[in-house]
Symmetry: D2
Subunit: 328 residues, 4 copies
Amino acid sequence: MIRVGLLGAGRIGRIHGGNVVANPRTRLVAVADAQAAAAESLAAATDSAVRSIDAILADPNIDAIVICTPTDMHADLIEAGVRAGKAVFCEKPVDLSSDRIRACLKTVDAAGKPLMIGFNRRFDPNFAEVKRRIEAGAVGKVELVTILSRDPSPPPAEYVARSGGLFRDMMIHDLDMARFLLGEDPVEVHAVGSAIVDPAIGKAGDVDTAAVLLKTASGRICQISCSRRATYGYDQRIEVHGSGGMVRAGNVHNTTVEVATAGGVLADPVQNFFLERYADAYRLELAAFVRAIDTGEAPSPSGLDGLKAQILADAATESCFSGQAVKV
Amino acid sequence: MIRVGLLGAGRIGRIHGGNVVANPRTRLVAVADAQAAAAESLAAATDSAVRSIDAILADPNIDAIVICTPTDMHADLIEAGVRAGKAVFCEKPVDLSSDRIRACLKTVDAAGKPLMIGFNRRFDPNFAEVKRRIEAGAVGKVELVTILSRDPSPPPAEYVARSGGLFRDMMIHDLDMARFLLGEDPVEVHAVGSAIVDPAIGKAGDVDTAAVLLKTASGRICQISCSRRATYGYDQRIEVHGSGGMVRAGNVHNTTVEVATAGGVLADPVQNFFLERYADAYRLELAAFVRAIDTGEAPSPSGLDGLKAQILADAATESCFSGQAVKV
Amino acid sequence: MIRVGLLGAGRIGRIHGGNVVANPRTRLVAVADAQAAAAESLAAATDSAVRSIDAILADPNIDAIVICTPTDMHADLIEAGVRAGKAVFCEKPVDLSSDRIRACLKTVDAAGKPLMIGFNRRFDPNFAEVKRRIEAGAVGKVELVTILSRDPSPPPAEYVARSGGLFRDMMIHDLDMARFLLGEDPVEVHAVGSAIVDPAIGKAGDVDTAAVLLKTASGRICQISCSRRATYGYDQRIEVHGSGGMVRAGNVHNTTVEVATAGGVLADPVQNFFLERYADAYRLELAAFVRAIDTGEAPSPSGLDGLKAQILADAATESCFSGQAVKV
Amino acid sequence: MIRVGLLGAGRIGRIHGGNVVANPRTRLVAVADAQAAAAESLAAATDSAVRSIDAILADPNIDAIVICTPTDMHADLIEAGVRAGKAVFCEKPVDLSSDRIRACLKTVDAAGKPLMIGFNRRFDPNFAEVKRRIEAGAVGKVELVTILSRDPSPPPAEYVARSGGLFRDMMIHDLDMARFLLGEDPVEVHAVGSAIVDPAIGKAGDVDTAAVLLKTASGRICQISCSRRATYGYDQRIEVHGSGGMVRAGNVHNTTVEVATAGGVLADPVQNFFLERYADAYRLELAAFVRAIDTGEAPSPSGLDGLKAQILADAATESCFSGQAVKV
C-alpha cells in the first residue's frame, strides 16, 4: 500500500484525492490546504487527516505526495518532496519559468526520486488509443498532427492575469500532446493569437483565441488551435495523418442519443468540461504513477516533458506577441 | 440506339423521360398521356413527339416502352407492349390482383420479350452496395434483415382509398427489398398495422403505420416497418445481420454540414423524398433495362419478382386485418 | 446507512456487491452463496462477512437484500425477504412461471415491503435519456418502437436448456424496454424464431435468432429482434418514432477513435458485453433502489413490471412455436 | 442561349464542356486545343465544332469563353477574350505572377466584360451551405477557421516543378476558401512545409506537406493544412468556429454503407478525387457564371479574388522557405 499525502484541496485536488481513495494500491493519509475549510471537507469525505504541508513532508510513513497547490508553489514543493524521500506527482506546470524548472529538475535528479507531471490527456482512453494505433503502425510514418482544444467558457480576467497566458496555461496541454504524437521535438514555432472572445482578456495582456504551427527537424508538422470559449462544450480532438492513413479521436458526447426532426438530426451535446471528459484520464494517470512507484521505472510524463512543453509555450508566447517565428 | 416510347407523363414519367434522354443508348421518341397538357409539356422538354398509346404501340421503329400510367392500366399495357414486339419497363405494381399478374406473365412468356419491373431501390447505390457486400461474403450467411421505410408525409385519403393499401402501395418496395437481401422467399408472414398518423386513412380502410415479420423456409428472418409520415424527411434504411457481421445503409443527408451549439450537434436533414433520394437509382435502373436489351439477358427485377412481392403484400394485408399469421 | 445482504456471489452478484460498497448510502454487511469459495472471495473483496441465507434473513440489522441467486430460488427468496421485513431487489426474472409470480406478488403486497426488479437497461444513461426525451415531448406521440438486441456470442446449450428459452431469458429485457418506451401494454404478440446460429440450441428446443411484433390497444407498434451472436460485440439499440420526430440511442464504442485507410473509415468496436455496456446502468439501478427505500416511494421497475414482461415472453414463446399470433 | 467557346480540352476542359452542354442556358459551339485529338474527341462527344482559339475569339456569335488551357496562357487569353467582347470564365490561377494578374485585371476593367475565376469549391453544396449558415448567423461572429485539404496521391515531380509550388498550385483553393469563410482579408501569414511524402518533390524545390496560419486585421484566425497524399482518398474538410457555435462540412463517402465486424465499424471510403467530390460544384459554378451574364451582376469569385488568393499563396511560399512570418 502506497501512503499518499495530498497538497492542495481545490477542484483538482479533490479529483486526485478521490482517485487515491479508489485505487486499491494507495491510501490517502493526509490532506493539506491553506484554506482550512477545504482541507477539512476533503479529509472528511476521504476518511483522511488534515495536516500541514510540513507535517506531511516530515512524516516518514508517507510514501508519495500529490501536488495540487497554486502553480507558484509547485517547484518548491517538488524539491521539498524529493528531498524528503517521497515520490512526487505534480500538476502542470512545474513553473512558469523554464529556468526555475531546470533548477528544480536538477534537484530531482540528485534526489533520485520519481517525479511525474500531470499531463492527464495522455491517459484519456481515446487519445491513448490514438497513440497505441500510431505505435502499432496503423498510419505509417507520422507527418501532420492536428489538435483542437476549446474550453466551454473563458476564465475570469483576474485568473488570466496571473496564469502565464493562454499558451502556458491552456495550450501547454496541447503542446505536450503534440510532442507525444509527433514522436519528435519541434524546432520551429509560429503562433498567432487574438483577444476576440472577451476584451477583458486582451486588457489583461493575453489572448483567448490562438493557433500554433510546429515543425520538427525531420519535417513533421503540427497545428494546434485553442479557444477559451465554445458554446457547445469542451471540444478536445486530435488527428494524426501519416504515410499509411489517418487516425483521429473525437469528442465524447453525453449520451448516444440523437433526435431527428425537420431541422435535422441532433446529437446529444459533448461532455461539458474536463471534470467529465477526463475523469477516466485522471484515474488512469494516478494508476500510472502507482505503477512507476511499484516497478521503479521512470514515470511518464516526466519532469523533462514538463520542461519541454514549457519551452514550447514560451516560444509560442514570444511568436504570438512578436509576430515572428521562433526557433527552439 | 434504343428508341423508346413513354406511356404516362406524370411525376414518375417525367423522371424516366429525363433519364431516357440522358442515357447515351436511348432516344425518347414519343410520349403519351391521357392529359394532353402533361404529354405536351414533357414532349417539349425532351424534344420528343406527343402520340397516342396505340400509335406508339403500332410504331415498328419504337423498340421499347416505359409504362408510367395509373396502376390499373399496367397489365394491359404490358401485354399489348410485348405482343407488339417491344421490350417493356413497367412501374410497380404489375397489378393489384396476383391472378391478373399471373395471367399477364404468361402472355409475356409467350411473347418472349423482356419485361422489367420498377423496383428502383435495388439500384440505389447504397442498397446495391449492401447487396454487393453480402455477395462478397462480408457478413457471412444472412440471418436477420431489418428494413425501415418512412415517407415524409401521408398521401391524401382519396389516393389511399384506391391504392390497394399500405402493404401493396408502399411496403411492396420493402417486401421486394426483403427478398433481394434475404436471398430466399419468405414462407410465413405476420403483420400489424394502425391508422394513427391520419384518422382519414383509417376511415378509408387502410393503415398508415405498419410492421411485418417474414420467415423463410431455412429460418432467415426479416422485419419491416413503414410509416406514412416522418417529420424529418424520407427515412430509408436497411440492415443485414449475418454469421460474420452486419452491414447497413443509412439515410442520405442533404449535405455533410453539422452545427454545434449548446443544444448539441445538428446534422443537416435527410433528403426529403424519393425524387431526391432515388434520383441515381432511377438513372441506374434505366441503364440496367438498356443493358438487358443490349445483352439479351433476362431483366431483373423480373415480372416474377413483381408477382412474388405482390403475393407477400397480399399476405401482409390479410395478416394485418385478420390478426393472424399467414403462410405463403 | 442502508445495511445490505447479498444473496448470490456469481457474476451479477459481484457487480451489485461492488455497487453496494461504492454507494455512499449503503453498506454491504454479508454475502451468501451455495459455493463457499465464491462467497468468501466476494466477502474478502468487499470487506463483508460470509453468512448463510437464513442468517441474513434473520438478522434484524439488515435492511435490504439483493437477490442474485439462480432463477428458481428468486420467488421463494423474495417472499422470505419481505416477510422478514426487508426491502428486496431481485434480478430478473421473478420466476419462469407467471402463476408463481402472481402468487409471489400477493405475498409482497401483503408484507408491504418494497420489491424492485432488475431490468437494468431502464437505467442505462442512453436509454434513460431516450425516455426523458419522449416524456419531454421531443417526438410527439409514440407510434413505432424498434429495439435491436444482440449478444456477442451464444451461451452453452446446457444453459439454454434450463433458461426458459430466448424470449424469457434474453428478450425479456427488450420486452420490458418495449413497455417502458411504448407507455402502454401490448395486446397482440407475433413472434418468429430460428436456430441458425448454433444447431445445438435448436436441439435444446430453443431458438437463437428471433423477432417479435407487439401492438397495443391504441395501435402503437413495437418490433424487437434478438440474436444470440454478433461478431462485432454487444449490439443494443433502440429507436422511437413518433408524431413529432424520432429519437434513438446507439451503441457505445470502446473509444471515439477512427482510422482512415484505403479500405474506408474504421470506428473502434462497440463495447463487448453487458458488464461494460451496462456498468453505469447497474450503478444507477442500485441508486434508484436506495432512493425508493429512502423516500418510501414504490420502486420501479416493480414486481408487476416483472410479471407483465414475463407474460409477454410467454406469449412470444407460444407464438414462435405455434406460428400463430397470440392475444394478451 | 449563351453561346460558349471552350479553350482547352484536357481533363478540366471536358468537365466544363459537359456542363455547358447540360446547362439549359448555354450551348457549346466550339472547342479549341493545341492537341487536335483532344479537341476532336471532346467536340464529337458534345456535338460541337473544333476551331482555333483565334477563330473562336473572332466569332461575334460566341458570347462567352471558358479557359482551361495551361496556366501560362490564362492571362493572355483573358485579355484577348474581354477585348473581343466576351464574358470570360477562367480556371485558377490567373497567373503565377501577381504583377501579371494586376495588369490583366486592368485590361478586364477597361473592357467592362465579366470575368469569373474557377474557385469551384465555393460552389460545393457542403461548403456553400457552411457559408449560408455563417451568413444566417448560426455560429455568431467568425473567430477561427480550420481547413484540411489532402489529395489522394502526389503529382509527378515534373508537374510539381512547373506548378508554382504547393501553395500556388494546391493550397490556393484553400486560401480562397479562407477568405470566403473569414469574411476578411488576412494581413499576417505564417507557413511551414516539408517534402516528406515524396523526396522527388523536395528535389524539385517544393514541399508536399504544409500548413499555414493566417490572421486578419480584426484578429480572426485561419489554419490550413495540405498534404499531397492521403491513402484514404480526397480529404476536404472545413470547420468554422464562432462566438455562437461551430459549423463544419465533412467528407463525402462513396455510399452510406457501414460494415461491423470484430475489427470495428467500417464506413465506405470517401470519394476519391476532385472529379467525383466536386462534380456538383463544377456544375453549379457554371450556373453562377451564366447567372452573372444573365443578370449583369459582377461574377464571383472575381478576378480580384484571384489576385488576392495569389498574393496569399506568394506570402505563404515566402514564409515557408524563409522560416519567417510575412505581412501582407
